[in-house]
Amino acid sequence: MFLQQLINGIALGSTYALIALGYTMVYGIITLINFAHGEIFMVGAFVGLLLVSVLKLNIFLAMAGSMAFCMIMGVVIEFIAYRPLRKSSRLSALISAIGVSIFLSSLAMMVFGANAKGFPSEAFPARQLHIGNADISTLQLLIIGVSALLMLALEFIVQKTKIGKAMRATSEDYNTAALMGINVNFVISFTFALGSALAAAGGVLVGLLFNSVSFNMGLMAGLKAFAAAVLGGIGSIPGAMLGGLLLGVAEVFGVAIGYSSYRDAIAFAILVLVLLVRPTGLLGRKILKKV
């Protein structure tokens, strides 16, 4: 029972973590809360669904296709909606982000209708495995495996590659990064591409997990993932991973012990409690005032 719930929680939490990473990376670089990020996740789920049901691609190819599509979408959104406001107040950019978010969910409702769609059952024929007395679905293992792989790949990019180092430099000090010859606009585009690709993968996985894809799925998932990013310490990549997993596990256990009607409130309750004790989040850095 415990093991089973733990696996349920980790699977759900992995998807929160995938989405949370996009919030935290974008915030780390341009201190913008990309309100449209949840809708990128939603679009990712739809694109994956279309590729599976219309083009009959297998789930992995569909996920890759959806990631590529959302990468471009993320870059375009930044270019159209945020870049022109880079030097304006933060509030303007935030309002623009909310606008993009509303636009995308309305567009999805017009195109796909208001009813939730499901993945065809042959998209990923999940089997149940019995480990001890726990029933674990291969779908959960897929979700955990794919998420872990993507997060490892992200960690490699950020720590070891030239563009990843440029991302870290830019998020520490935008102007000084430019003085190094780093094209910060390119780095920002790249950050949106990475974050959006992860959200798209999350969208496909969540669509499979709940067998439901709908125009408004980005709202709650986006809010919870944002809570996960803040819980972990916004701007911190390991923080977003940890925050996502914690919230997923807490939600599943909360439901298991009988608080199912508070399912969506659990994440925010934890967030508030942690922020009371640690205002910078679990792995967030103290914000040093410049002297």
């Binding site: 180092k165 870290r168 000084t176 003085l179 010859g181």
Partner: protein
């Protein structure tokens, strides 16, 4: 080599520079001195393309770079050690140097650049894996200088390299600046420590509230009574 012509810069409604003209010739060390808020840093950040000017022009080796984006200016051969060093605190010494060599595409060249920085500043070599925030102020200054040299600049802009350093270390840093200049790098040096700056510079400009009020050879300025009174503490 560098020609700044009639440059005016505003931060919103605040005028930071008013019709500043100055030049730096190949091989020189040129000092910019002036009180707090005179606009020294603004000149350097405008040359580097971080701040944009409202009027005036900047030309480097005959090419107009006034509106060029900052990252492209580096590829033209201008590099800067910014005020307050601004090392990437959470990145290691080695990674900071790698960032300095961002425009280099050849791995071998990056490696050689890092070795050169370690020869110039042996204390950095012992700390190559350490996060830059754990370095002392003097070591951070060395790192910022080593980082700026990674791109093999022909013109190096230095903003207050002596800030907050003990006198011994200031002397050492200035020796290294002279050494860097002797190996063929032209230098534009902003300093509050006017006596040190004038002692190594060939020429200098004196800036007051955003305007150039005096210029000339460093030795002439060092013996100018007004300069001695205002900036050399006499």
């Amino acid at each position: 080599m560098l020609t700044v012509d009639n440059l005016s810069v505003y931060y919103g409604a605040i005028r930071a520079l008013h019709q500043v003209s100055c030049r730096v010739d190949q091989g020189e060390i040129v000092a910019l001195i002036g009180a707090n808020g005179a606009g020294k840093t603004t000149i350097l950040t405008t040359i580097s393309g971080i701040v944009s000017s409202s009027t005036g022009s900047i030309a480097f080796e005959g090419e107009d770079i006034t509106r060029m984006p900052a990252h492209q200016i580096v590829t033209k051969g201008i590099s800067q050690v910014p005020e307050g060093r601004r090392v990437f605190a959470r990145m290691s010494v080695q990674e900071n140097l790698e960032m300095g060599g961002f425009i280099l595409s050849n791995k071998q060249e990056i490696k050689q650049g890092i070795e050169r920085a370690f020869t110039l500043f042996p204390r950095l070599a012992e700390r190559r894996k350490q996060a830059a925030r754990t370095l002392s102020g003097g070591e951070q200054q060395m790192l910022a200088m080593g980082r700026a040299l990674m791109s093999n600049p022909r013109l190096l802009l230095l903003d207050e390299p002596s800030m907050g350093l003990a006198p011994m270390l200031v002397e050492k840093i200035f020796e290294i600046i002279v050494e860097i200049n002797k190996t063929g790098t032209t230098i534009m040096l902003v300093e509050q420590n006017a006596s040190m700056a004038l002692s190594i510079a060939h020429r200098a400009y004196v800036l007051e509230t955003g305007e150039v009020v005096l210029s000339g050879s460093a030795s002439d300025l060092a013996s100018n009574p007004e300069v001695r009174k205002a900036y050399l503490g006499e």
